[in-house]
């Protein structure tokens, strides 16, 4: 089961374009509207810029640029023609989701409304959305066009102008049903387009959770959290491990002994206890989780770097670089790091999978990045309470977690295999 990298990327791109064409058109309109606003009234424009906005625009730009990048690099680079396996395909998919999150997820991960209708819906279930006439939110004529457009794209976590209903009964009076409760809408309160009342269907692709939130978009945003925590922690661990390893291996002596003791100390008890200890005592947030996972994973890296530095230290090219007056920092990055990049990379990949697993476990225990961000682990944790009624709350985050870990592990294994066969 192999597929060319370029076909896989192309497939994902076309898939996304087809299913999100409406959103992409809105983005395309939003960008000029924003520039127009910036031209007229730069203060208002700047005050409207926030993370969500930049994030959405960025994902739009990326999706537009992907074909150009492929066309430009197709001739020069050979890697696009490489056959990729399942594991690499999953990694590419994860990167797609990680970068293009706002585009892929159709709704806000925290959106919840009309619980009686949307609570614990099974995958592919359909509900009706009644769009109400809303009073004009924005008075200012300058930015009105832009703001209305923005609201279409950046989904809010609450929207009072829509009602979810199981079924509707439009006659003389307009009735809608929410879990067998009949409710009436006053006449002329529904938004009309071309004289027809706007009532649309919404399909919850992977169902909803106990608060009526869309599991699909929570899953997509959860991917971002998992990968972000994984990447950032790996960087923290990389910096600590390489720096300490270099110092210990290069200087030797008493510093080496002390750092070795320090490593032994960190290795002497299960690191999950250290992580939970620090998170529980000092409070948990996204940054503490990243930091703590980073400082609990640098030990194996330290050992690798140290032993390699010790063996490299007396090689001729290091000695000559030193005699030529190369600074220690440059020596590390220019001479030593390129020599050990392969074992270090393999180690980092396995560390990444360990960190993703640890983050999910922490979220499962309720000690993760907090309730602000959806996370696979916390989704499984909340699904556990509804295990008899809603299997989809556990199955989908579980599968994404397993697929991610499997892909990363088998990729790391492949790299290690290549590495060891190079050495022989």
């Amino acid at each position: 089961m192999r597929i060319k990298l370029i076909y896989w990327i192309g497939f994902l791109w076309i898939f996304l374009i087809i299913f999100r064409i409406e959103a992409i058109i809105n983005y395309a309109l939003l960008l000029p509207a924003f520039f127009g606003l910036m031209f007229n009234n730069i203060n208002t424009a700047m005050s409207l810029v926030n993370f969500q906005f930049i994030d959405s625009i960025f994902s739009f730009i990326i999706i537009i640029l992907i074909p150009f990048i492929i066309v430009i690099s197709y001739k020069k680079k050979n890697f696009l023609n490489k056959q990729i396996r399942f594991s690499e395909a999953v990694i590419i998919l994860l990167l797609f989701v990680f970068i293009l999150t706002p585009l892929i997820a159709a709704s806000n991960p925290g959106f919840s409304k009309d619980l009686s209708v949307t609570k614990l819906l099974s995958p592919f279930s359909k509900v009706k959305i009644i769009h109400l006439k809303s009073t004009e939110k924005y008075k200012d004529s300058d930015s009105k066009y832009f703001l209305n457009l923005r609201d279409k794209i950046i989904k809010p976590s609450f929207d009072e102008s829509i009602i979810f209903a199981d079924s509707i009964n439009a006659g003389d009076k307009f009735f809608y049903y929410q879990k067998n409760v009949r409710k009436e809408l006053p006449p002329n309160s529904i938004k009309t387009v071309d004289g027809r009342e706007m009532i649309t269907d919404k399909i919850f692709l992977l169902g909803t959770d106990e608060f009526g939130r869309d599991i699909f978009s929570r899953l997509i945003y959860g991917t971002r959290i998992s990968l972000l925590v994984g990447l950032a922690s790996v960087i923290v661990a990389f910096l600590i491990g390489v720096l300490l390893g270099f110092i210990a291996g290069y200087t030797g002596g008493i510093i080496d002994v002390i750092l070795n003791r320090f490593t032994e100390l960190f290795l002497s008890f299960p690191s999950i206890y250290l992580i939970i200890l620090i998170l529980a005592l000092f409070g948990n947030s996204l940054f503490t989780v990243i930091f703590v996972l980073g400082i609990s994973g640098w030990m194996s890296l330290f050992k690798i770097v140290k032993s390699e530095v010790v063996s490299l230290k007396h090689k001729d090219f290091i000695a000559s670089a030193k005699l030529l007056g190369m600074k220690k920092r440059l020596l590390l990055f220019k001479e030593i790091l390129p020599c050990i990049i392969v074992p270090v990379t393999v180690n980092l990949i396995f560390l990444f999978s360990a960190v993703v697993l640890a983050e999910a476990a922490l979220s499962y225990l309720g000690l993760g990045t907090g309730t602000l961000y959806p996370s696979w682990g916390s989704m499984i944790n909340s699904g556990q309470d509804y295990i008899t009624k809603a299997w989809w709350m556990i199955v989908f985050p579980g599968i994404s977690l397993i697929a991610t870990l499997f892909a990363v592990n088998s990729y790391g294994r492949k790299l290690r295999f290549i590495n060891s066969s190079d050495n022989d």
Partner: protein, 328 residues
Amino acid sequence: MRKEFGKTFIKRFLSSLLTLYLLVSFLFIIIRLSPGDPTNKYVSSQLSPDLAKKISASFKLNEPVSDQYVAFLVNVIQGDWGTSYNYHQPVLRVVWQYFSFTFVFALLSFIIQLIFSFYLTIFIVNKRNRLLDKIVSDMSLIVYSIPAFVLGVTLIYIFSVNIDLFPISGLRSLDFEGMSFTSKIFDQIHHIILPLITLSAAGIALFYRYLKDNIDVVLNQTYILHLKASGFRNKIIMTKHILPNAVRPLISVAGIELGILLGGALITEVIFGLPGMGRLTIDSILARDYPLVIGCVFTSGAVMIATNFIADLIKIKIDKRLTVELMN
């Protein structure tokens, strides 16, 4: 040789003691550095400041940290780990209650992991079936990638919720006390099967991977080819030459794995509501039960160091050349 072995032994032992001392100090420091007051749980310092101070004094939290540290160390050397705030019992007694369960549980899981992975590997290697080998190889990586909480919850969903074969959680049934001896044992086994599967699955996959990779490496060595050319039977080559060489690197991995298991299988214990070290540690951390936190983490640290130590000794026993190498 014997002298060198003794030297190595003593050196390793002293180094382990030093690590344990550092561990205790590290835990003590990190706990005292943290914000928050354990007395807040029992009495509000705003409502009754005098009482809060009294409780704080009874916990000896009002003394300077250096004095606390020295007193703590002296007590620890005398075998007194303090009294748990929550359980109102000496820490060692609380830890012992929970550790006895973890010990049995971890050892069972460890034995299952070793036996299953060993025979699975032997089976696959003897079959010499490319397709089967590949399937099991991929399966082992998938099983290794399944987080314990996903596996545990899935098992509960299938075996407890849907077909009601095993109990969801706990260690014994409600009417445990009234049972006869045999049904008591049966009841415990009945309760522990799902947790054991959850805990062992990843380990089986891990050991399988290591053993299989090692056997593959050994199979390509020239001395195996020589043995084959000399007309030895496959079975003898397998048992006398391949396995001893392939198992040897596994020992240190097994030591680490056993250490981690004995330190408490946190996730498994949380899912199945088992009274083990993992849950005790987490509960004590979340309740800010400082003496118990130190006791628990120290215990798991000591167990981990001990298992690594034993693994090294076994390795030296098998291969005497390692004495010099492990000394450094």
